[in-house]
Homo-oligomer: 230 residues x 2
């Protein structure tokens, strides 16, 4: 197929496809002559993958490029592909480099990991991401309890095993690698969505709407001293 059909089948404008080509997010098609290039179903697939990474996954073009590069790297074991993809994903959704997390926060995350018998490399970006959240919470004045972190860790463990379990019964190594990466990126969005649902439910459970408490003031503009009295 030519680029116009690739556009029609993938839903992306031709100009965007050319942009993806330029940026290396999409392999070049087979050149038939000076002004004819042929694309196939794998290109359609790839465009959809890129759109999912960008839109649902919230990745930047640069991050998507790194992720796809590890995917296209043939001579890697699964574990290595995964590790590379994790690094390619980086610390944020984009490639932004903010201040690093504190050592204390990183150590607390390490303790959580140890308690779950996770064995991980110290360069796993998960340390940085999680530790930064702890630092942010501390800056806001909130110190999460061990039980809170343990619950999050248990949930992470559940998810990770579900992800890997979904992979186990696949045959092609290529497909496994792709699913692994897609699962990492889209799984973040999936858990975020489900969490919104679970939270609404849990909120009503614990704080019913017909709350007789008179916490809501009629008007008064008092300055609340928000500080955690730890």
């Amino acid at each position: 197929m030519r680029i116009s059909e690739l556009s029609r089948r993938s839903g992306a404008p031709v100009s965007t496809l050319k942009y993806f080509l330029r940026e290396g997010l999409l392999r070049e098609g087979e050149r038939l002559s000076g002004n004819q290039t042929s694309y196939d179903d794998s290109h359609v697939q790839r465009v959809r993958l890129v759109r999912a990474l960008l839109d649902t996954g919230g990745l930047s073009i640069a991050a998507a490029k790194r992720v796809l590069a590890t995917l296209d790297d043939e001579n890697s074991s699964l574990a290595h592909t995964f590790e590379a993809a994790q690094h390619a994903l980086g610390v944020g959704r984009d490639g932004s480099s903010r201040a690093a997390a504190s050592e204390a926060a990183r150590e607390r995350i390490a303790r959580v990991a140890a308690r779950n018998s996770w064995h991980t490399s110290p360069e796993n970006p998960g340390f940085e991401i999680s530790a930064r959240v702890l630092d942010d919470l501390a800056a806001i004045g909130y110190e999460p309890s061990d039980a809170y972190l343990a619950a999050y860790a248990a949930a992470a463990d559940t998810i990770a095993h579900a992800d890997l379990g979904a992979l186990r019964d696949r045959e092609s190594a290529d497909l496994i690698a792709e699913l692994m990466i897609v699962g990492t990126v889209l799984g973040d969005a999936l858990i975020a969505g489900l969490r919104r649902l679970a939270q609404e439910s849990a909120t009503e459970e614990l704080f019913p709407v017909a709350e007789p408490r008179a916490d809501a003031r009629p008007s008064g503009a008092r300055q609340p001293q928000r500080r955690d009295p730890k």
Copy 2:
């Protein structure tokens, strides 16, 4: 304190603080005279909250503004604040409006919710977010199993109860509302980080590095993935 000290204490440049003021992310201080305005600790706190929302939570200025507006809305019940915050967060991290999820995907999410006895409003953005992931996975050629979704839902349930549990023993309604919102936004990042750690561990567990498959090239020095060639 004056704006320069607010800057020093919060770590944000004065020009950025003025920007936050303009955008309504930060309440105006108390005007003492034509060119003197006094800020207090609550402003320092707020700046840190905004930075956490923007940097770690990945929110856009517009989304952060909506979220903070619901937080500042005094006459709301907790449940209502939460609901408003969920909507303020919107479907993506930013306010981008992409194509809606399919009805089939939305129904599948509804079934998952029902199986967990979540009772939620149909407008909860969690439906849209999760359903879109399902659509994306389908477009990639992957149909997640019920077991897979069930595991994610169980994890979401665990997290939601941990979040709410952390709130229950707080006294001030203002603080609870703030934590609820921060928890929603930063919690996404926290679970993402922990998930990365759990996945690395689970990957090694299920796909050991010394894999006898012919796909893995056991030759020692792997080319590190292309770092940023900029």
